[in-house]
């Protein structure tokens, strides 16, 4: 058995880079340091069937085919479409994402990533009011007040608390004991159990509660005795805790990005953090889900100027989530072809988006059998980045880390597949 060290976990946005993989006969048979979900990704215990060969739909059946054929078909679908959509991108590396952006340009497509259905609201909010963040190490070394709002890290980012909150830091030698942990969540969760303060607000009232806290932080009184189910006195108490922090950090997740008002909840949360800097030091970090969802937003931004939902139909990049998001295009029946990569909209999109997917040609670049591949016309299986291929990923707060290759694979990488589609599309466009 061979031990491969300093492996980067290709699962969640915590992007742990201290994993040790136990390798036997070119297979990962065990891990050290990974949490249970990271571990199961490495050792394939997810129970998912892996595609070993490209597949093409013929009637109700999938038949095995070659990469060449699958790529030829994919290139034709994309080149012929008037409003192709390229969606996913969050579980692959930045080089593949970069080829994706070029392919979207070449085909006059709309390119969007899974941020669209998770932290897209955070992006819209930071575009309106700003983005004061820090890297994880700052939290570990300095934070004495830690707030998790609308997220349950014990469940979705299992090592997040242990790495950032429980661990000892330079100015926080006692670790957890040196910090006040606040969890804001309408539900009780494994994370809220660990908190010093659990603000159990009413569902869909994040904006109201934040409006109240901001008002109190600024020394003004609030109109009502109770906001979002939280009594006035407790709002005042919390405001004091926040103002008296030496270094405060707000982590926020899907519970607030997707409650009523979506990006406006994040907008006002960002403003709260900004204003707290008049009294102490505060920053925030979005609890991003897929390990490289952040990377796509970075790549897409430096190449096109916009982070997601980029519409290249006129040749120029244009951007307006609400119009140019994957769900917008599907639900408005605008998209007439779709390429899905490194994600599973078939499992996560609303019904009328999926109905549109069923009506149009779908190409899936995807290692596993998923609800998306079930609806696909072409399935192209890649090697898995972070295990079978190298590449860059960006941690949730933007720290880029080189993903390691642990075992070999015969399959093409996402990047190679995309390059071949791109090259073929170029030929097809040139001959038009």
């Amino acid at each position: 058995m061979e031990l491969v060290k300093n492996v980067v976990c290709p699962f969640c946005g915590t992007l742990c880079d201290d994993i040790v993989c136990k390798v036997e006969n070119n297979e990962i048979v065990g891990t050290i340091n990974a949490c249970r979900i990271g571990h199961s990704k490495f050792v394939h215990t997810e129970g998912a069937m892996r595609w070993k060969k490209p597949m093409i739909r013929q009637g109700d059946e999938f038949v095995e085919t070659t990469y060449d054929d699958a790529i030829e078909k994919a290139a034709h679908v994309l080149a012929d479409a008037k409003r192709p959509l390229m969606y996913g991108w969050s579980c692959t590396d930045c080089d593949a994402q970069a080829v994706g952006v070029e392919l979207a340009e070449e085909t006059g497509a709309v390119i969007d990533n899974t941020a669209s259905v998770c932290h897209g609201p955070s992006v819209l909010a930071l575009q309106d009011v700003g983005y004061p963040i820090c890297t994880f190490g700052e939290v570990k070394n300095r934070a004495d007040v830690v707030v998790y709002w609308g997220c349950n890290p014990m469940h979705a980012h299992p090592r997040h608390l242990s790495r950032n909150v429980f661990s000892r830091g330079f100015f926080r030698e006692r670790g957890r004991a040196d910090r006040t942990l606040v969890v804001v969540d309408p539900r009780k969760s494994d994370s809220s159990k660990l908190a010093d303060v659990h603000l159990q607000l009413d569902f869909d009232k994040d904006y109201e509660l934040l409006d109240a806290i901001r008002t109190v932080v600024r020394g003004k009184d609030i109109l009502y005795d109770e906001v979002a189910g939280i009594p006035r006195e407790q709002i005042y108490e919390v405001a004091e805790v926040l103002k008296n922090a030496q270094f405060g950090i707000l982590f926020f997740g899907m519970g607030i990005t997707h409650s009523r008002g979506k990006h406006r909840n994040i907008d006002t949360a960002i403003c709260l953090v900004q204003e707290l800097n008049d009294y102490s030091k505060w920053t925030l970090i979005p609890m991003r889900g897929h390990y490289n969802v952040t990377g796509f937003n970075q790549v897409c931004t430096w190449e096109s100027g916009y982070p997601y939902c980029v519409d290249f139909s006129t040749g120029e990049p244009r951007y307006n989530p609400g119009e140019t998001g994957a769900n917008d295009l599907l639900q408005n029946k605008e998209a007439d072809a779709m390429m899905v990569i490194a994600s599973d909209p078939g499992a996560h999109f609303p019904q009328n988006a999926i109905m549109r997917m069923a009506e149009i040609p779908v190409i899936a670049i995807e290692p596993h059998r998923t609800p998306t591949t079930e609806m696909a016309d072409v399935i192209i299986p890649p090697a898995i980045v972070g295990m079978e291929a190298e590449g860059t990923a960006y941690r949730m707060e933007g720290v880029p880390i080189r993903m390691r290759k642990v075992v070999d694979s015969d399959l093409l990488t996402d990047k190679q597949i995309l390059e071949r589609i791109r090259d073929r599309v170029k030929e097809l466009q040139a001959s038009k």
Binding site: N6, D17, I133, E138, G169, F171, G305, E390, V399, R402
Partner: protein
Amino acid sequence: MQKIIKNGMIYDPLNNIDGEKMDICIDNGKIVDSVANDAEVIDASGKIVMAGGVDPHTHIAGAKVNVGRMYRPEDSKRDVMARGGGMRAGSGFSVPSTFMTGYRYAQMGYTTAMEAAMPPLLARHTHEEFHDMPIIDHAAFPLFGNNWFIMKYLKEGDLDKTAAYSAWLLRATKGYAIKIVNPAGTEAWAWGGNVHGINDPVPYFDVTGADIIKGLAEVNEMLGLPHAIHLHCNDLGHPGNYETTIASFDIPKNIVPKPKYGHRDKILYATHVQFHCYGGTNWRDFVSAAPKVADYVNKSDHIVIDIGQVTLDETTTMTADGPMEYDLHSLNGLKWANCDVEMETGSGVVPFIYAARAPVPASQWGVGMELFLEIKDPRKICLTTDSPNAGPFTRYPRVMAWLMSNKYRMNLIENELHKWAQTKTTVATLDREYSLYEIAQVTRATSAKVLGLSDTKGHLGVGADADIAVYDINPETQDLSAEYMAVEKAFSNAAYVLKDGEIVVLDGTMVKPDLYGRTYWINTKYKPEVEQEVLVDVEKWFRQYYSVNFENYPVQEDYIPRSVPLLGDSVPGEASGKEPAIEGASK
């Protein structure tokens, strides 16, 4: 393959050539003595020829630059380009996307640009963006001025360890120079504070800005780096800050430059000095102190500055000076981004509108111009806008035209600028006009030399890289002071631009957009035995206090496809080595 640029008027200050008509011969990407008769002829008659522009301080690649793009879709929408002609699509007025950045620099005849602030932990990000930035040669300056190891070793008075760590960090980040931003201040900002002046100690680490400047200036020469320490002084933007500025300039003045590569003869490079030349005590009694700072520079031989000229645009400010950006946000109320980077540095981003009719921006415009016009020797000046802080780099041609035409300036002062430009600064009384020779000096020659790259950059002598700009400007037939709009236009759209001997721009249009430039970085070690000791500390702190593993920290060579390491192993046995021949290759 061979080319000859015929009959152009050559402006090449590093070789003392001032408008003479000469032919430039090119072979294999280099400028050579002569070429064969069948060499491709580029007719430059009636045009001027300069070396490709060298921008020593700009913000074009990396984490905070990308935040600037990402959080300002309204800025991206102001300037958009479609895919076509081999060019990639892009957008961004003040912070263009990477491809667009390369094209826009090239169209102005610039062929080298330096990213002036790279957080070491996020270095990989900067290099990834370089990878998607066509044409220009480039390098990035890692941030040292608030780094925990640096502060710890300086506190201990251990320059050897400071030097060994610095060399390691340059290698690990593939960085080029020692960048210092608000020394001690950004670490203070990690607790929400700042330092004031150079003698205010940073919390816990207990060293001052002055200690950091002095220590790193010494380390710079211990390592023999090509570039000088690159300093963004404390107290940026505060009325009364000029005293801090002059005191900071004075700190390293007795250190002797000892570059192991290049021909730098200065010890200090001070950046965007316009922001550091303010007198008074607040914005009411504020008055320009540019004449005082200019006077200091005129009397000193150890320093080169860049200006950071305000261009009177709506732009995006971005800097590792975290507390400054928070102050700016408090002042203008516009959206504030920030990123504190563990153990190393911080940064902030805020949009800013330099409205000509507003008193402060009008004065800042005047302050920058005063520096340009009152510092007598252009060998001490680099033209910058601290892009995009005081304005986007795409405005360089306008700044050049302002410098060359008093009429242009007076039109602006009299018709568009708030009267503070006249009452708070002396700009309206200065009628000096830059010559083309001086323009070449402040846009290529000074910068190439102080960066340590003047063997191959910033001039048109034999052996230089064939990075060449030909502009449709004719000083024999045009009154350049009167025809300032034509000058601005010509500098915006070069007639020809050659990069490594290839024509990349023709009549202002990209004709070879898929050429990619080199990455310069410093590959040096300081006393291996000291480095061993230092790495024991480093690894320990990584285990305890960093959030990435030591082994995953250094930027892998994969990120540097056109790598030009300087010093170290790449130049065995040479005190002042030549860079290895690496052609600017297509991607």
